[in-house]
């Protein structure tokens, strides 16, 4: 089995002590200490307080709802993102370049702006919402609105993970498959999909992780309704603002732990070489 070449040593590497300690001096207060603080504060009132804050109905709802939305977002965008990547990588058509830019835009747009624009489109006073609301279809301030926002915000992750692989995949393989009598679907299923597997995993995970932590767009479109549309990040913010720091921290600690777990899962699948681990 031919594997990728073993990682090369950095050329002319000298003693790592100085640069590494410099890096640590920057990273410890910048990244590691804030993360540690969440856990220290979460358990400051004792384990019992932590658990009782966590099993409260609204905290449980917020966590479950966030996870559910993250699963749905990851599932939908896995399919949608792969399809978009396939179309953009394999077909030539006028307006391809602007479209490629457009589908990557959500990365650049502030999430609050995404929330606002969704409201102005689907909201009860929005462009489409005004027409649809009398028909009983109003996704904003409902779980569907949260899903819409998360699909929008996380769309480029799948694309970013899958499209480079598709670009790399030479047409000859596909042509060979066709020559051997494979249909379009068979080619996709047995030639293209296996080559994309790693990208699908990492893209789905990134989507999931981002959705789990999404705040800016969600706060706009959800109406922040406790036990109905309040996601875990919104719960944390609402409880913190209300002065219930312990409740906020308990959920924050769980969310942080989940993100760590997802991150390690991501590392495992993407190998020690890391790769593109942007986001959270």
């Amino acid at each position: 089995m031919s594997r990728t070449a073993p990682p090369r040593k950095a050329p002319g590497a000298s003693s790592p002590v100085l640069p590494v300690s410099l890096l640590l001096a920057v990273l410890v207060p910048l990244l590691l200490m804030p993360l540690a603080a969440v856990f220290v504060f979460a358990f400051r009132g004792g384990f019992k307080d932590f658990v009782s804050a966590l099993i409260a109905e609204d905290a449980q709802f917020a966590l479950r709802f966030s996870l559910l939305i993250a699963f749905l977002t990851a599932a939908v965008n896995a399919v949608l993102g792969t399809f978009a990547a396939y179309v953009l990588a394999k077909y030539r058509f006028p307006g391809k370049k602007p479209l490629t830019i457009a589908v990557n835009l959500p990365v650049a747009i502030p999430t609050v702006v995404v929330g606002t624009s969704l409201l102005l489109l689907w909201g009860p006073i929005g462009l489409l919402g005004k027409v649809l609301a009398p028909l009983g279809f109003s996704p904003m301030f409902a779980p569907a609105g949260v899903l819409l926002a998360h699909l929008f915000v996380t769309f480029p992750y799948m694309l970013g993970a899958v499209k480079p692989l598709l670009d790399e995949l030479e047409v000859t393989y596909e042509e060979a498959a066709y020559t051997l009598g494979a249909g379009k679907w068979q080619t996709f299923r047995y030639v293209i999909l296996p080559a994309l597997r790693g990208g699908l995993f990492s893209g789905t995970l990134l989507t999931f992780a981002h959705s789990l932590g999404e705040f800016g767009a969600t706060v706009m479109v959800s109406g922040n309704l406790r036990l109905r549309t309040q996601t875990a990040p919104l719960f944390i913010f609402a409880q913190f603002e209300a002065g219930n720091v312990e409740k906020a921290n308990a959920v924050a600690a769980v969310l942080a732990a989940l993100s760590f777990a997802i991150f390690f899962f991501l590392l495992r699948w993407s190998g020690p070489a890391g790769g593109r681990t942007q986001g959270h």
């Binding site: 070449a5 993970a161 790399e168 051997l180 296996p194 597997r197 990208g199 699948w269 190998g271």
Partner: protein, 390 residues
């Protein structure tokens, strides 16, 4: 098909390695599939554990929504929005009391979906179309904004008991323990070296009440004919020392608790209730003291019913809840949670309430429409903020 799958496999193994740098993204996918190359799907134990964990996570997430998990009768749902300091009083006391009351009366279960934010934020959300049935706003002005936007019929809240006012609370000053800066009145906030935390009048209803308190306390004791002058001077004194503005009264208190400023201008309810909550839990000395100014405003909180968001079947229960807010039971619960009842005889029940020599109401200054125009817009926004370079 056979050929195809072999093609897939051999593509994997012979995948070209020598093209780094050609693409903006590292070829994560190829690396990623390493452990799953031969078997198709991962079979090793650790993979099993990881997939099991994902499965468990998914199961946990969907658990309450699984079919067959007892939801005997769907409870009735009422959606209530409120301004920031109402959270505890409604969620933990008044709404559960109504649910009990309704259940014994009709046998139906009621559940509440609530959301709390600054009064201005709540108003904006209502205008954007959140599906609230009832909203408790911290000032009547927000109700008027809702009427202008067509969310509720104009003046509809005035047909409710007491013109829609559910409860009150005076505006007070919170200072650090021991009152090191010797603050006793709004006028003291203008002294050099005093720093003030204030909610933002643009999003917080409470902040508008605070503006009226700061202006009114001085204006009521000025020589006849000099009310405007005295009130403006008092406002200018306070606002030249504001160091932090939070979006809501609650958020302002959180800032104050975190060590910002010498003084916080806020609702008595928030201070009384906050002290009770902390005292019960930690038995530590309170982080602040309440100072009652000799003269201050009693804020009045207005209920609006958004009938257009309720179906005809929902309306009776929504109106029943609205009426319940003025009942003895609800008013007593409000007092227990630090609000002053609209019925003075009930207020003796909370020993934490202090005395105010000269309380006044917004009606004493001609109602909110006039106060908004003359004091908030003309004096505060028009004269004081530009003068301070804000």
């Amino acid at each position: 098909m056979q050929e195809c799958s072999q093609w897939g496999g051999s593509f994997q193994e012979n995948a070209p390695d020598g093209t780094p740098g050609r693409y903006p993204y590292p070829p994560m996918g190829r690396l990623g599939s390493s452990s799953a190359q031969r078997s198709g799907w991962p079979r090793s134990l650790s993979a099993l554990v990881i997939w099991g964990a994902w499965g468990a996570l998914l199961l946990y997430a969907v658990w309450p929504w699984l079919p067959g998990r007892g939801r005997q009768t769907r409870p009735r749902t009422i959606i209530v929005y409120g301004f920031s300091i109402l959270g505890d009083a409604l969620d933990r006391a008044v709404l559960p009391a109504f649910a009990r009351h309704w259940r014994t009366e009709t046998g139906e279960r009621v559940e509440f979906v609530t959301s709390f934010a600054g009064s201005g934020t709540v108003t904006n959300q209502l205008i954007m179309g959140v599906p609230a049935h009832l909203a408790l706003l911290s000032l009547e002005l927000d109700a008027q904004r809702l009427a202008t936007a067509g969310v509720i019929p104009a003046g509809s809240w005035k047909t409710l008991p007491l013109g829609g006012v559910v409860n009150r609370t005076p505006f007070i000053l919170l200072v650090r323990p021991g009152n090191p800066k010797g603050i006793h009145d709004f006028a003291d906030l203008g002294r050099p070296g005093v720093t003030v935390v204030h909610p933002d009048p643009l999003t917080s209803g409470g902040a508008n009440w605070a503006l009226l308190a700061e202006y009114g306390a001085a204006a009521r004791h000025a020589a006849p004919g000099h009310e405007r002058e005295a009130g403006t001077a008092s406002l200018r004194g306070v606002w030249s020392h504001v160091v932090a503005q939070a979006a809501s009264a609650r958020a302002a208190r959180t800032q104050f608790e975190n060590g910002f400023g010498d003084v916080l201008v806020t609702y008595e309810q928030d201070a009384v209730h906050g002290n009770e909550k902390d005292g019960k839990k930690k038995k530590s000395a309170p982080k602040w003291e309440i100072v009652y100014p000799p003269s201050t405003v009693l804020s009045e909180h207005t209920l609006v019913i958004i009938d257009k968001n309720a179906t005809p079947e929902e309306r009776p229960i929504v109106h029943a809840l609205a009426a319940f807010l003025w009942s003895d039971e609800a008013q007593t619960l409000f007092v227990a949670n630090g609000f002053r009842s609209v019925r003075d005889e009930l207020n003796g029940a909370n020993p934490a309430f202090g005395t105010i020599a000269d309380p006044f109401l917004v009606a004493d200054f001609g109602g909110w429409t006039k106060v908004k125009k003359d004091i908030v817009d003309t004096i505060w926004k028009g004269e004081i903020l530009p003068g301070l370079g804000k």
